[in-house]
Structures are given as structure tokens and as C-alpha cells.
Symmetry: C2
Subunit: 762 residues, 2 copies
């Protein structure tokens, strides 16, 4: 019996669901739909609103549950009757399935092309999910998953790539562009041969059972190896083939004795299943390698039900691709490949609707909604459970904007936002997981404070804490659960869980309080700078102020101690905290030299915290550049994250300061001072995903200085980023751990100015 | 129980056998050895002797007979103890086999490299057996076998070629030269997978049983076809794949109901075996096609126990190669591929002996000894029989000379000796088989006459007639039994059977008689020509005489009637038989024009019959050219065939005529008149296999006219041959059938002169 609870946790938000698409397979069915969800503040048409958002739900369930799933959907979705539902099918009896869906849901069923859907779905996920792609290294026991991003820089394209689908058979498709693909090869040896022969040989076609058997089996008892054929005196030099290479699959089985043993001995049955698996995966690997011999891409993605995150299959396919291509090709896998065809079906349906005036999901960026994804959605290979309903889920949220790699990233160096990879850096992972565990209760206190009027706040905060701690535990076991484990993901997940439980912005009140305080103090700070005659000295002082502002941070434990420990932790006290020069990283002089040599005529500043940081640190710094005749754009987050200022808050702050400062008011009116948002909602900054409007602006305004401020944006991420224009990375180290890592002390200063780095040898 | 008789007919000539080599396979063993045999007159060191010849024996027998075969050999071979025997093995338990051979024969066993042996053996057979290679066209019910020769012209090389061995696994080797080869690919899917999985699935690994099942099965019940997956509305344009293409082998078997059916229903078991066969052969075809994508050869030879002349496998492999290569490659098969490794082993052993001073078999040409080959050796695929010993045999005779393509063949046109292909020309085949059947008793009479002193002659002649008629019956059923069926083969086979029964030259006496008669008449014929003043008229008359001489032929029924009908059929009477000009083909004037324009300064004449033909036709014709200052070489057969003059006989004749004619005597002394032999022993002339000494001579002497005389050499063969120098084809049509075919009458004359035909458009 399925419990409604289990289905509910997979098939969520059905009441406002639409755009259904089904992918009907032999054993599993995937259904995809979009729904409207209540969401935190967002920007629509340049106005701050509290609005609904769009979420994409992808659910994968056993074929046998189709009737129950259809009934469940039919009972909950409003206005579904008469709508068109896209489907693909590789099921032999797809007509019966289609009839069931059509009759239960009362919809029109439109068959869409399987291959087109796979391509559309793959394009969608490659464009929207960072770390969608990985290579699998079985022999690296610490870290078997190595994730890759197709769109690291504005110069990257996901095309061309090659998609190998291992289903009943195997097909190889070269994808040249969004809708431009060609079938370049295939084979009749695939999952059909594996399951069909397994069924005939041992009476089971259950993939989980078979793969467990294969893991345990020893193919050398079944296959003829090169050394079996050529004898113990075989000389490897002759053919260049290793002696333990399989010369002939099942080569030992035609022997009478052997065949009798197999019937009786479960060990031999395991050996046979392993041999069968290797026969198929070697065949796939060989044909793919040979077909790709002349292809100019190493972007080789495997999908299909034979592959689907099964370690033994990924291992054998990776081996075969490497072997047959003589190391020139590498097998890549996709974390969410199960959903490609169903997502592609929905994309096709939406494209058709777009022609009728609806919005195309491909025109927006989407974000993986970790908090709503099941284990598989988070890429944790798992063994079967006893759960009655084994639905597995991927959810994505529409960003309502299009995000692109930041156009000023250097084309000469591959961009990786993260300074530390928590998958491979075990010490760093331990530190961050512990920090996150310790922080959750403090966060929950803030969250409850932010909704003092809500009687459910405390209860919801408890659930948040429990869920987040569970997730952190999951990451201790399987650090690859979100792709590359990094600080960004840990923080994003926390935000998502808070939002999932209606805490849209736990620091809301705190931020308001500090912004108001800082705005009132701004004239004093500005006056002090204005009183200085020398422009260079003024800018030096403003830069020191930029750093002092960065001391204020509710995200850093050491600072929270300071801020909570005294009645008022003033801006002047923060300036006093900044150590004497030379700083840990100190290229202030070079930065000033270049500025007064006429550079930096158009600058963009990625800001960090609310309150003193942005108001008393960033704004006076920007104001000095305005005096020098430069254009300035201040870039905040779009969405809330800790006490970081959001675009909505920045708008309010700028309106306030404009009333108090004539230069700022005039600059804003004239457009030499602008505010923008990055599109993000994280204490970190991922320059692979920047609001396309900001991307257009930095090109249009010929930005020649990128300033990145704060620990999350300039140290945890982007510390090693290279730009095609000069950049200034400015932050104060506020955690003991990072100070130790960077060879400094608490409150050490990083003021790292770098000229054009298109040529990395500079 | 094996009868000694059965073993005796396979393992022949053991008493003088040496150079043993074994190829030990999983199910069959191949043994190869050479032996000395008594033989018809031969040329050794330019002297006519009656000598022994060397024969190569290749025998293929079931693995289970190894002990009996070894005992049989041990009992019969003299001086075997302590010799070295080469072997290759792909048997899992080769050590036990090797021990058995070593201990029973008392020999040293030397393991030689499997791949080297395959290459050496293939090179040997490609170089020595015409029509070794064929393509298989299952859908051409009249003629499924199309034979090819690798060495058609002096410009051809057998290299490079690609050898695909489908044994337990599959390997692809590119062969660039005699000992230069490289492994370029392979696969684990081959015979091992076929037999191993078949054994596990249905309990049998018997190839004959399995192939019969596969012939009867329907894989569409087992495999998922493209149309099964994409549904009935599948659009072929999308992927470019036909709807009945196998998308996934065994794709329908994972279904529970199906698996149960297979257990109980023999029909489904057949379907599974067919599916398995197609899975393997498609896989082999695909991998080979992909590996050869960049190879610059279409010489693609399949061998290995999975291939071995099995029609269904050749059919599916041919289909797969064509499909996967998109028609750019064609699968070729080898008639005697079973023996490659064993022959190669012997070649390697002989090469080692050569270093110790023995003769290398690769330095000589070899001829397929049809009369000693079993069905398989003659390439007749057969179903298993009840014979106790199922040995199958190939025999080759050493020519003791090296034969090469005639160097004056035009490089611009592919050479095919045969004017008529009896495989595809059913009417011609019927005519020739009937002619041969009818002729055998006349031939036997001549043979008995030639050995009047022998008391066993009549009995032996009866056996010859019986055997030859049996062979002709076999050819009616399976015309591809010797490769391309043609007049040459029918005649060669008859010669071989006579020789096998100690009739080394049935027309010996007849030829002697006629030569003596003609020699005595020569002065008269010469005097008549010498009496003519005009050189051009003289050459015209001599050419007419050349044609008149060709009327004398014991091979033509119509002429035999003439010759036996009257007391003396004189040369003058033959001249009278020649019709008035213009002849059926008449370029006499052009021939004369060119001669008297200064061409034809070095001529070679391929002669035909003994007696008047060569003595009164060819010699006076040659004598006219000697008068014109040209060099002349008269080329006869080396070995007896009908009443054709042999080299030994020609030597005698020339000695006689020299005593009677001063000009001839002087020319012979000065070397302007020479005699040579072609190396052949057939009424036809195959210019692909000419004694290399003659090949060297025609180049050294700058031969600028090739004269080919007689029906067998100029009409049945070579009528369409193109040369790089002028040629004259001269013959009288002496059979009604050929006259009808050529649009003439009996005794119609062909006098076909062609200038340099290197450019076929001339």
C-alpha cells in the first residue's frame, strides 16, 4: 500500500500545477510539471514585490505505480481537463499507458520525439545546473565524483557535445546547438541485451538484484582472457593487449562442466551476470570510442536507464571508454539524466505554448532547489528501500531572470568560483560542516525574531534546524550529494530550508535596524573625507573605510561576539580594528597609482553586508570615484542571504542617502551612480551566473575596474578569479580558520589589486 | 570406431612426410605436413627428369580424434623422432594436447605465434590459390559466391589487407607486407560469446545444431526493433534508421511471460539462437567497420571458427559490414581459412630450416590439387555426416618454380583469363560439363593406349572415369566447389585425376607420332614459303599456316572426327579447311602493316598442340620473323595437358628441326630463337601465373608482340585480355558451340591483332 504521505512528499504543489510531461519507460515513469509557489521578495518589472515563483517538479516512480500516480494527480490539479500533455515512450505497450493517463487526467496526449526531448532536456539542465556533469573515478576512494561545469566563462558554450543513451539499445547523438543534433551511431547491445539475457540466464531482470550480483561476481571464471588463449608464456608486446583483457566474453561457458555448475551454483550465476555486464559495457565503450574517433569534442555524456548513477556501470563504462580511446576520451555522466526526456517534453510543450503567447522557460535561468530534492535528485546512489512509494524528485526554481557568466572574466584562465573544494579538502569540509551545524540555532533565533508576530515561528524554526542538521549529516556521508561540495551550496541549502518554512528573510529586522543607523552616520563619515585636501589620501582613507565597513558581519562568529558584546560597536571602532599596513595582502599603493594615472573610469562594486558595510564603507568609497569623474555601479544580491543587503534594501538605502548627500543625489540623477543586482541570493558570488542585465551593463559602460568586497565574495570565492580588466578584492578576515589558512591573523586585511589578467603570466 | 580407410584417405603420403605443424583449437585440430610424391616429367635445373614432387597436405579433424590421429601418424612416418613440430593453440588446455602429440610422435614441440601464423598462412594461400577470396551474396540464389584473385596483374600486390579473425573473440590485423602486420582492433564479442551463451541458454554448443536453429529462428520475436521502441508512427527520416533495424538485442526477453515461454517452446529457443547470432555478427560487423573507417583498403578477409563457410554467418556478417560501413566496405571470405594458422606454422618452421640451408616453400609457387581435396577443401559447405572420421583435406602441389603475373598485361584493365564464367553462365556450364562427361571415355582410351604395357591400365582408367564423372556431378550441384567454375578448372581436374592414377600423359604416344610426322614434313612447308619473293606475302602465308596448324587438335570433337575419319589428314588439307578472308575476326592487314612499319622486333608465341600445329604452323611463322631480324621466343606448356606440346617435347622437336633447317639452327645458336615454358600444364593459358623466368625474359628482351595461338589460350581464355604491347590472337574455332557463341561457323578463323592497349579507349 502506498501512503498518501509518501506520494505527497514527491508530488508537491499540485493544486497550481500545469505543463505536464511524461516519459514512459519500460520500468519507470518520469513526470514533470511546473507549479506556482509563494516566494520571498522578488523584483518584477523593476519593482519590489512579494510574488509567486515558478517551480519545476520532476518525479521518477516505478511503472507499476502509474495508475495510483494518475489518480493522485487527477484529484489535486485544477483545470487540467482538455489540456495537452506531452509524452515520450520507449515502452512496448505505450498505447495502454497513454490511454490510462489520458482517461484518468482527462487530457490530450501528444507524442513528442524521444531524441529531441533528450537533447532539449539535456540542454536545459546543462544550462541551468552547475555541476550537472561529472566523471567517475572508482579507484579514488576518497572522492569518486569529479564535477564539471559547461558554462564557466562567457566564452564557453555547452555545444558541441555527444549524448550517448544506453537504453534498450544504445544511440550516439552529436548535439551542435539548441535544436541542432544528428544521430551519428548506435548499437543493438545495450540494456535490452543485459536484462533480456539476464532474465533468460538466471530468471531475473531486476536491475538492483542484478547489479548487486555483478558487484560480487568474478568474470574471469566465465570469460576467456587473453592469457587463457595465448597461455602463460603470452608476450604482451606482441598484440599490445594486457593478459587479463577479456578476449572472449563467456568463452569458458561452452564447456559442459561449466554449464552444469551454473545451474546449481549461485556463485557462478553471479560470475555470469558480471560477465554479461562487462560484455555490454565494453561493447558500448568500444563502439562509442570508435564512432567518436573523428569527433572534435571530449564532452561525452552518458545517459539512459542502463547508466543511471549505477557505480558498477559508470565504472566499467569509464574504463571501456578510456581503454578503447587510448585515453583520449573520458566518459561523463549527468546527475539528473533520468529526467532529460520528460523535461525536454515539457520544454517542447512550452515552446508550442510560447507561440501562442506564453512564456518560454528556456528564456529564464533556473536554480536547483536542493531542499525539495530527494536523495536521487541530489545524486546519492542508493540501494532499494522498503518504502512503499519510491518516487524520486528533482526540483528547480525559476530565477525569473536570465543569468550568464560575467563578461569580464578572463578568457585565458578557467574560472572556478570556489577557493576551497570541500569534496577533496577533507579538513575544510569538516570545518565548514561543523561551523554550519553550530550556526543553525543562532540563525533560528534570528528567524524567530524576524517573525515575532507569528505564533508558528518557533515550531517552524525547530523543523528548519532539524532538517538542516539532517542534510549536513547526509553531506558528511556523501559530500557529492549536491555536486561539488562547497561553501556556496551549504549556505544556499540553509537559505532554501528557511524559505521552505516561510522564513523568507531571518535578518530582515536586523538589516533594517543597521541600515537606518548607518544612514544616519553617513554624513559624518563623508564630511571627514571631504575635509581632506589630497585626492589620493582621500581615496586611501575611503578604501580603509571600505575594509572597516566589512568588519560588520553577522555571518562571522568572531564579529558577532564583538557586535553583541558591546553596547555600540561603532564605525570608528571598526576602523581601529583594521591593523597597520602593510596588510596581509596589500597592493593599495598600486591601486591608487593606477587610479591617479587615469585608469578606473567606470567601476562596478559587488557589495556584502547591510548597515555600516555598504553605507559607511562602500558608499563613501564610491563617492570618491564619482569625484574623480568615474561612473560607479553598486551591485547587491537580489535575494536575501544572511545580513547581506538585497536589491530592495539597497534601493531604500540609496533613496535615504540621496536625501542626505547632494553629490550622491546628483550622480544618481545623472546616472553616473547606479545600483544593480547580481541576480544571486548567497553570501558568496558565483560569477558564472550573473543577471544578464548586469552583464550587458558592464559591457555598455566599459567597466574597467571590478571591486569585490567581503569574505564570502572575495576570499571564499573569487580570490583566485582572473579578470580581463583590473580588479580589487577587499575583505577583512573574520574567522580564525580562514586566518590560519591564509597565513594571517584575525582581522587581517586583504586588499588585492590586480591589473588586466587576460594574460595569466602577467 | 574410426576405420583406417577413412583416416587413410585424409592423412595420405605419410611415409615420406615431414615439416609437421599443428593448430590446436577448441573443437577442431588442423595438421599440416609436406611429403614427396612420384610425379610426371618435370624440369629441374633445365633438364627434363622424371622426379618426385612436393605436396602440402592440410587436414582438419575433430579435437576428440587427436589421440587416434597421432597414433596413426606415429605408425607411418619414418624418421620423425627428435624433429621439431610447430604448433599454435587457442585451446584452454593446450598443455595436455601438446604433451599427447609430443609423447606419441616423439617430437619437440615449438609454440609459434598465433597471429604471425595466421598472417603467414593467409599470405601463402593468397599468393598460391587463385579464387581463394570470395564475397557471399545470399540473395543471389543462382550464384551466391563471387570469387576474386588478389594477383591479377604484375601491378597487383596482395598487400595491404585486413584480416579479421572471429574465434573466441575477434581481432583485426592490418597486414602491410609478408612479415609486417599490426593489431589494429578487436572485440570480446565473438564465438566465445555465441557458444558460451548458447550453452547457458539452451544447453548446446554444437555449431551445426545451433546454426540450423538460427536458420529457422525469427529474431523479431526476441529483439526490440526500432519500430517496437518508437511505435508504429515512427518516422524513419528522424534517425535515418529503418524500422526493422534491431534497436536492442534480446530487448523483448526481460518480460516475464516471454522468459517462461522460452523454457517450454522449442520455437522460441530457435528465435533466441538467431537473435544471439545476429547480436554477435552485428557487433563484429560494426566494430570492424568502425575500426576500418580510416584504413585505405577494401581487402577485408574474415576467418576464424565462427566464420568458416557457414552461410548464415557469412550472410549476417556481410550484411553488417555493408550496413555499418554505409556500403563502403565489403566482407570477403577465404575458401581455406581453416588452415591458415597451421600452414603459417609450417612456413615459420621451414623458414627456420632455410636458415640452416633447406629450401623455403615461400620461394615456389603452389597449385591447388583439386583431385586430393575433400569437400571442404573444395569449398562445399556441408552439414555433418555420419562418417566416423570427419577429416577434411586441402592439398597443394609445389610447382618447383615461382610463378608471377605476365608483365606485359595492361595495367589499365583488370585481367580475367576466362572468357566465360561458368558460375554465372548457366548455359555455358551445362555445355562444358556435358562435353567433359562425354570426353572422358575417349580420354581413357588414349590413356590406356599410352600405357599398353601396363596390366592395370584398363582398371585404373575405369577409376579415373568414375571419379571424374562424380566430380562433374558435384560441380553440377555446387559449381563453386573449386572457386570460379571455368574451363581451365574442369581441364585441370581431369589432368590431376589421370596423374593421381599414374597416367602421367595419356597423349604421350600420339604426340610423339605427330611430332615426328610434322618434323619430316617441315622442309616442304618451309621451302614453299621460301620460294615466295614478297616478304609481306610470305608472312601472310605463314600466318595462314599458323591458323591451319591450329586445326589439328585432339581436344576438339569435330577435328577428332576429321583426323580419325581419313587415312591421312594432311597439312594441305588443313589449309584448305581455312575459309576465305575476311575471317570472322580479321586484322591480318593491320598486323602485316605494323610488322613492315618496323614493329614486332621481339616476339613471344604461346603455342598450343603438338604435331602440325607447332611444327608446321608456329615454326614457319616464327621463321619469317627471324628473317625480318626479330627475336622470337616460343613458349610451350611445362606439363602435359591433352595433346598440347610440353617443354620437354618442344626441346626434342627443336633439336630435330635444327638438323633440318639452317636458319633455325643458326638462330638457335645465336639466341635469336629461343624456347621457354609458361610453367603451366593446361590447354588454357592463365597469364596470372607465368614462370617468373619467362616474365623476366619478356622484359629483358623488350618483347613488343605477344602471339597467343589456339582455342584454349586465345578464345576460351585471353580473348578479352589487354596488353601493354601489341598482340595477335590466332585460332580456328573447332567446336559448334563456340562457333555459335561467337557468331561464326565451324572452322571460322580468329586473327585478332590489337595495338598497345594500355589505354583501353584505343
Amino acid at each position: 500500500m502506498h501512503t498518501i504521505d509518501e506520494m505527497e512528499s514527491a508530488l508537491r504543489n499540485l493544486s497550481a500545477a500545469s505543463n505536464f510531461s511524461f516519459d514512459i519507460g519500460l520500468r519507470v515513469i518520469k513526470v514533470v510539471y511546473t507549479s506556482r509557489i509563494p516566494r520571498h521578495p522578488a523584483i518584477v518589472n523593476d519593482r519590489l514585490t512579494k510574488d509567486d515563483g515558478t517551480r519545476l517538479h520532476c518525479i521518477h516512480f516505478p511503472f507499476t505505480d502509474l495508475d495510483k500516480v494518475c489518480e493522485y494527480i487527477a484529484q489535486r490539479v485544477k483545470n487540467l481537463k482538455g489540456k495537452t500533455v506531452q509524452f515520450t515512450s520507449t515502452h512496448q505497450d505505450s498505447e495502454a499507458c497513454v490511454k490510462l493517463i489520458r482517461d484518468t487526467l482527462g487530457v490530450k496526449m501528444e507524442r513528442v520525439n524521444d531524441m529531441t526531448c533528450h537533447v532539449k532536456g539535456t540542454n536545459f539542465l546543462l544550462n541551468n545546473i552547475l555541476d550537472e556533469v561529472f566523471v567517475y573515478d572508482h579507484h579514488n576512494v576518497d572522492c569518486r565524483y569529479f564535477f564539471q561545469t559547461c558554462l564557466n566563462s562567457p566564452h564557453d558554450s555547452v555545444f558541441p557535445y555527444v549524448l550517448v543513451n544506453v537504453g534498450t539499445g544504445m544511440s550516439i547523438v552529436r548535439v551542435n546547438g539548441e535544436s541542432d543534433f544528428e544521430y551519428i551511431g548506435g548499437s543493438h547491445c545495450g540494456g535490452g541485451a543485459f536484462f533480456g539475457l539476464a532474465k533468460l540466464l538466471i530468471g531475473s531482470a531486476d536491475i538492483d538484484e542484478l547489479l548487486v550480483m555483478a558487484e560480487d561476481g568474478d568474470h574471469r571464471k566465465v570469460d576467456s582472457l587473453v592469457c587463457d588463449i595465448y597461455g602463460s608464456d603470452y608476450n604482451e608486446q606482441l598484440l599490445g593487449l594486457p593478459p587479463d583483457l577479456i578476449a572472449g566474453s563467456f568463452g569458458k561457458c561452452s564447456n559442459n562442466d561449466f554449464a552444469d555448475q551454473v545451474k546449481d551454483d549461485p556463485e557462478y550465476r553471479k560470475d555470469c551476470i558480471r560477465s554479461l555486464l562487462l560484455m555490454i559495457s565494453n561493447s558500448v565503450g568500444q563502439v562509442v570510442s570508435l564512432v567518436l574517433n573523428n569527433e572534435k569534442t571530449n564532452r561525452l555524456f552518458f545517459n539512459g536507464f542502463m547508466v543511471r548513477n549505477h557505480p558498477i556501470i559508470m565504472r566499467t563504462l569509464s574504463y571501456a571508454i578510456n581503454f578503447w580511446s587510448r585515453g583520449t576520451l573520458q566518459a561523463h555522466f549527468l546527475r539528473h539524466e533520468a529526467f532529460m526526456a520528460a523535461i525536454g517534453g515539457m520544454v517542447l510543450g512550452k515552446e508550442r505554448l510560447e507561440k501562442q503567447g506564453e512564456v518560454n522557460i528556456e528564456h529564464y535561468s533556473w536554480r536547483e532547489h536542493y531542499a525539495g530534492c530527494s536523495d536521487l535528485g541530489r545524486f546519492v546512489p542508493r540501494r532499494p528501500t522498503d518504502a512503499a512509494f519510491r518516487g524520486e524528485v528533482l526540483e528547480l526554481d525559476c530565477a525569473d531572470i536570465l543569468m550568464r557568466p560575467f563578461p569580464l572574466l578572463s578568457p585565458a584562465v578557467e574560472y572556478d568560483p570556489d577557493t576551497v573544494d570541500l569534496n577533496s579538502d577533507l579538513a575544510a569540509r569538516e570545518f565548514w560542516l561543523t561551523i554550519m551545524e553550530e550556526s543553525v540555532h543562532k540563525m533560528c533565533t534570528k528567524a524567530i525574531e524576524s517573525q515575532a508576530e507569528s505564533p508558528t515561528a518557533a515550531e517552524r524554526a525547530d523543523v528548519v534546524a532539524k532538517k538542516y542538521l539532517e542534510q549536513l549529516q547526509l553531506l558528511r556521508d556523501k559530500p557529492f550529494a549536491y555536486g561539488t561540495c562547497n561553501v556556496r551550496n551549504l549556505l544556499d541549502l540553509r537559505e532554501q530550508i528557511f524559505q521552505e518554512h516561510e522564513f523568507d528573510d531571518p535578518f530582515k529586522l536586523q538589516k533594517k535596524l543597521e541600515n537606518d543607523l548607518a544612514v544616519r552616520e553617513l554624513p559624518k563619515v563623508v564630511a571627514k573625507l571631504d575635509s581632506m585636501d589630497d585626492a589620493r589620501e582621500r581615496l586611501a582613507e575611503a578604501t580603509k573605510g571600505l575594509l572597516a565597513g566589512n568588519v560588520f558581519d553577522w555571518g562571522a562568529k568572531e564579529v558577532v561576539k564583538l557586535m553583541e558584546g558591546e553596547e555600540t560597536f561603532t564605525f570608528q571602532k571598526a576602523i581601529d580594528v583594521i591593523p597597520e599596513r602593510p596588510w596581509l595582502h596589500d597592493s593599495l599603493d598600486e591601486f591608487l597609482d593606477e587610479t591617479f594615472n587615469g585608469s578606473h573610469k567606470s567601476i562596478v562594486v559587488f557589495v556584502d553586508n547591510s548597515g555600516a558595510d555598504v553605507v559607511l564603507g562602500v558608499i563613501p568609497f564610491a563617492r570618491e570615484f564619482l569625484k574623480l569623474g568615474s561612473q560607479v555601479t553598486i551591485v547587491s544580491n537580489l535575494l536575501p542571504a544572511l545580513n547581506d543587503i538585497t536589491y530592495g534594501e539597497l534601493e531604500e538605502v540609496m533613496a535615504e542617502v540621496a536625501q542626505r548627500d547632494e553629490l550622491l543625489k546628483r550622480s544618481m540623477t545623472e546616472g553616473t551612480l547606479k545600483i544593480m543586482h547580481s541576480g544571486q541570493g548567497s553570501p558568496c558570488l558565483d560569477l558564472r551566473r550573473i543577471d544578464s542585465k548586469l552583464c550587458e551593463l558592464v559591457l555598455r559602460d566599459k567597466v574597467d575596474l571590478v571591486v569585490i568586497e567581503g569574505m564570502g565574495r572575495a576570499l571564499h570565492t573569487n580570490f583566485n578569479a582572473h579578470f580581463s580588466v583590473p580588479s580589487l578584492k577587499a575583505a577583512v578576515i573574520k574567522t580564525r580558520w580562514l586566518a590560519d589558512r591564509m597565513g594571517g591573523d584575525i582581522f587581517s586585511v586583504v586588499c588585492k589589486y590586480e591589473k588586466n589578467q587576460s594574460n595569466p603570466s602577467q
